[in-house]
């Protein structure tokens, strides 16, 4: 789960202060959140693509009544209503996708900062890379 490892040094007495511990904890939290975000972004992107495809299919088809999935059932709905709904859903998904990506970027930069600080203090005694 936590990708960072703490390799033992060659016996040097490296003092770990409370501040260092908190930095390590923060880094761990950010790392976890980063992985969760990656999954969320993948999911949101898939959803966005699906909605895009659905919209295109709708344009291509010329049926008047379209079956639109609500929950577990497919309700017969007139085409325009389905179009509107798909537009709304697309907008909402794209917006949330954007927000997720922004959060991911901020986390990446925060992690880079922490890496600098921790590597400066511990040099070889700490490993903050993904396996």
């Amino acid at each position: 789960m936590m990708q960072q490892g703490k390799s033992s040094s060659s016996g040097s007495e490296m003092q770990v202060t409370w501040e260092d511990q908190q930095n390590i904890n923060t880094f761990s939290r950010l790392n976890n959140r980063f992985h969760e975000l990656e999954d969320d972004i993948k999911f949101a992107k898939e959803k966005c693509d699906n909605l895009e495809d659905a919209g295109n299919e709708l344009i291509l088809s010329d049926e008047e009544m379209v079956r639109f999935q609500i929950g577990e059932v497919f309700a017969h709905m007139p085409r325009e209503e389905v179009e509107t709904k798909i537009e709304e859903m697309k907008e909402a998904t794209c917006k949330s996708l954007e927000k997720l990506q922004q959060e991911k970027e901020s986390i990446v930069s925060q992690m880079a900062e922490l890496k600098k600080v921790l590597y400066a203090k511990f040099k070889d005694s700490i490993n903050l890379e993904e396996d």
Binding site: M2, K6, S8, Q15, N25, N32, V73, F74, H76, E81
Partner: protein, 262 residues
């Protein structure tokens, strides 16, 4: 869970959270070992055991989190369905309301109004009549300006909603859902209750809020737990390093003495 041994505390915010004991941060390994009376091996064993216990709790919390994360989209889907049913039901009144407002507008301004309905079927004969009546009145006025008011896009109303639902894997059946004021909600434990649409929406919204709140608390718990796991891992590493360092010092001293004697 075993109580944490006294050691140089690093100022933990909580000593425990919902039954999860906090891992005390050790300022100095040597002081810790002398104070607690542990030697390196037993200290290591103690912390390893703590780590295992944390892992067990983490598994449990992760399972709970997965359950909640599956439950929330379910509740949202139910809300969507109830909202759709309500919307279907509601269009009748909305149409009537629009037509009445239109009639009032016409009366006030006495404009000759040309209303062109777009390709939609208004099934409310009542509303049609009201609009027609206002038209007759306004033609008596002397105003020449015409205002073309196009009726808002009206959903062509079928009285019943047709829905295809899954009977079994790959087999779907059609249902004709009449306009209704009430829905039945499955509450679990083989219990299903009938609610009015508003009550159902309120109940589902409540459930959704609760689920989201529990999820938040759970996520905070998990974060706390992960912090404790990290602290414990770092402590284990430091005790191990200290031990290695001690052994090396011990090895050096006898060889130094032997060299001096020789």
């Amino acid at each position: 869970m075993s109580s944490s041994s006294p050691s140089g505390s690093g100022g933990d915010d909580l000593s425990e959270r919902r039954g999860i004991p906090a891992a005390k941060f050790i300022q100095d390994v040597e002081t810790y070992l002398s104070q607690s009376g542990f030697d390196s091996n037993s200290a290591l064993a103690f912390h390893q055991e703590r780590l295992q216990q944390y892992k067990v709790v983490e598994m449990k919390l992760l399972a709970q989190q997965r359950d909640l994360q599956a439950k929330i989209p379910d509740i949202e889907k139910c809300l969507e369905v109830v909202a759709t049913l309500e919307a279907r039901k509601g269009t009748g009144e909305v149409e009537l309301g629009c037509a009445l407002i239109l009639a009032a507008y016409l009366k006030t301004f006495s404009l000759k109004v040309l209303i062109s309905m777009l390709a939609c079927e208004i099934e409310h004969v009542v509303s049609q009549n009201i609009v027609l009546a206002s038209l007759e009145e306004s033609t008596e006025t002397s105003f020449k300006s015409c205002l073309i008011v196009t009726a808002e896009h009206v959903v062509s109303r079928n009285i019943s909603l047709l829905a295809d639902f899954e009977v079994s894997e790959g087999i779907y059946s059609r249902a004709c859902i009449e306009d209704t004021d009430s829905v039945c909600l499955w509450l679990g434990a083989n219990v299903m209750l009938e609610y009015s649409c508003e009550e159902a929406t309120a109940l589902l919204r409540n459930n959704l809020e609760n689920a989201k709140a529990s999820l938040e608390v759970l996520v905070a718990d998990l974060q706390f737990l992960r912090d404790q796991v990290t602290v414990t891992q770092v402590t284990i590493a430091r005790i191990y390093n200290y031990d290695v360092h001690q052994r090396r010092v011990k090895q050096v001293t006898p060889t130094a003495i032997a060299a001096a004697d020789a």
